[in-house]
């Protein structure tokens, strides 16, 4: 699949991670920071999750067969993601409906939070594919870390009487920053001379993309929370999440036979023609 073909998945995962992240961190923040997901935040979460599911439906080649996606729940990580996404949306919507007039029961909040956290984990597991050389390491954990950091920042931004940034929010953002730095380090360590020829236009610019993601999601929101411009905090965190997903798919490097041949061709090209020679190998005129 080309990087261009990943566009619907960028939209789907951005929306799903944002929506699920808000509800997933709610139980954690409620216990430690006396902050709870507000009705506007919950409404946004439900809307984001619903739109994400619609986008994922629209990207199918055969939408009429969408119900078959749950057929291999258990063995297939993609089936698991679809089933958990449906359950998380239903629980979040129920939470919103129950809490419209009075606070929803704690058990309901915990259930919705657990399902949304499960969705974030499931999204990570879907892309933990051995054939994808840049997705098997810390990249598989970034959906849950980024989702929780995003959710914590958004919930805090919507708390009316903020007195400093709670430790739980700082911890969640800090954990995401640490995980993403590992991911960045992994992306930096891959051999660009081989990977770059098949990885598309994103690869040579991986450092600006990673830096932008790190700045918008892990650096900028915390000081903005102290200054309290709510729209700016939401915009920064949302931008960070979108850049995270664009970079995730943009930096995809799939193992294929074409890529393997490319790698070996590069080895041959760079090999000295004879032992002791300083020149690299040269093309022959007529020899197989």
């Amino acid at each position: 699949m080309t990087n261009q073909g990943h566009a619907p998945l960028v939209v789907f995962t951005s929306l799903a991670i944002a929506g699920a992240g808000i509800v997933a961190v709610d139980p954690l923040l409620r216990e430690t920071a006396h902050a709870a997901v507000s009705t506007p935040a919950l409404t946004a979460s439900v809307a984001l999750q619903a739109i994400a599911l619609i986008v994922s439906l629209l990207h199918l080649g055969r939408m009429d067969r969408a119900p078959l996606a749950a057929r291999r729940t258990g063995p297939s990580p993609l089936s698991n993601e679809v089933v958990i996404a449906g359950a998380a949306l239903a629980a979040s919507a129920a939470l919103l409906a129950l809490g419209w007039r009075e606070p929803a029961p704690a058990a309901m909040r915990s259930l919705a939070g657990a399902l949304c956290a499960g969705l974030l984990i499931a999204i990570g597991l879907v892309y933990r594919i051995p054939a994808q050389l840049t997705w098997t390491g810390p990249a598989a954990i970034t959906p849950i870390s980024a989702g929780c950091a995003f959710g914590a920042v958004i919930i805090q931004a919507l708390v009316p009487d903020l007195d400093g940034v709670p430790r739980a929010v700082i911890a969640l953002v800090g954990i995401d920053a640490a995980i993403f730095l590992l991911r960045w380090q992994e992306a930096a360590s891959l051999d660009v001379s081989v990977v770059g020829r098949v990885a598309g236009p994103f690869w040579p610019r991986r450092h600006p993309w990673c830096a932008a993601r790190f700045f918008f999601l892990d650096v900028l929101p915390l000081p903005l929370l102290l200054v309290w411009p709510t729209p700016l905090v939401i915009a920064a965190a949302a931008a960070g999440l979108v850049v995270d997903r664009v970079a995730f798919y943009g930096l995809a490097v799939q193992q294929t036979t074409e890529r393997e041949i490319d790698r070996v061709d590069e080895v041959i090209r760079l090999q000295p023609a004879r032992v002791g020679s300083e020149s690299t190998s040269r093309p022959a005129k007529s020899r197989l």
Binding site: M1, G61, R62, A69, R72, P130, T257, R269, Q271, R282
Partner: protein, 191 residues
């Protein structure tokens, strides 16, 4: 038993007849070709041999496409052939991401994936797959059980980092300058 292909690298001249035969037999458009011929060291650098890899689906023992598919659109037959059941395919393209050989192709016209089925109808009739039957040099061969073939599982340019255990085997050149280059390249890749 694992059905698959055996490719003789010394005989394959990269003519592409297998690709054409596959398209004709299975009615494939050029955008969704099931078989492709990939040249290695096409510019003929001194440091390596030049040969062609004619590849399609390898009907792996542990197929990543089958394992990841959410709708059960892939099945492995008792003879080892991995078939794609089009009626169950969602067109989610997940198998395109999971296959470490770039095998499944998206058929935009029908909105589903497609891939080589080793000409299963022909094999069931006791005939060779179309690509094998057409190969003018006899480089591409069908094996009902590739494990019994005295051949190599991997050559430079063909790797299985995902542990899918593909059922493609190779015969390599022996006793020639080409063979020496081949061995030297393998040694360099190992180190």
């Amino acid at each position: 038993m694992s059905a698959g292909f055996v490719l003789d690298l010394h005989r394959c001249v990269g003519c592409g007849a297998c690709v054409l035969a596959c398209r004709i037999e299975n009615g494939r458009e050029t955008t969704a070709a099931w078989r492709r011929v990939l040249p290695l060291n096409l510019r003929r650098y001194d440091a390596g041999p030049t040969y062609f890899l004619s590849v399609a689906c390898h009907h792996c023992d542990e197929p990543a496409c089958l394992q990841g598919c959410p709708s059960g659109a892939y099945e492995k037959r008792p003879d080892g052939i991995v078939v794609h059941v089009e009626d169950r395919c969602l067109g989610c393209r997940y198998c395109e991401m999971t296959c470490p050989f770039g095998t499944p192709q998206f058929d935009a016209g029908r909105g589903v994936m497609s891939k080589c089925h080793l000409c299963a109808p022909r094999v069931d009739d006791g005939r060779a797959p179309a690509c094998v039957a057409t190969c003018p040099t006899g480089a591409l061969q069908y094996a009902a059980d590739v494990d019994n073939a005295q051949v190599r599982p991997f050559v430079p340019g063909f790797a299985d980092p995902a542990g899918c255990r593909p059922n493609l085997r190779f015969r390599t050149p022996a006793g020639s300058t080409r063979a020496a280059r081949f061995d030297a390249l393998e040694e360099r890749l190992r180190t």
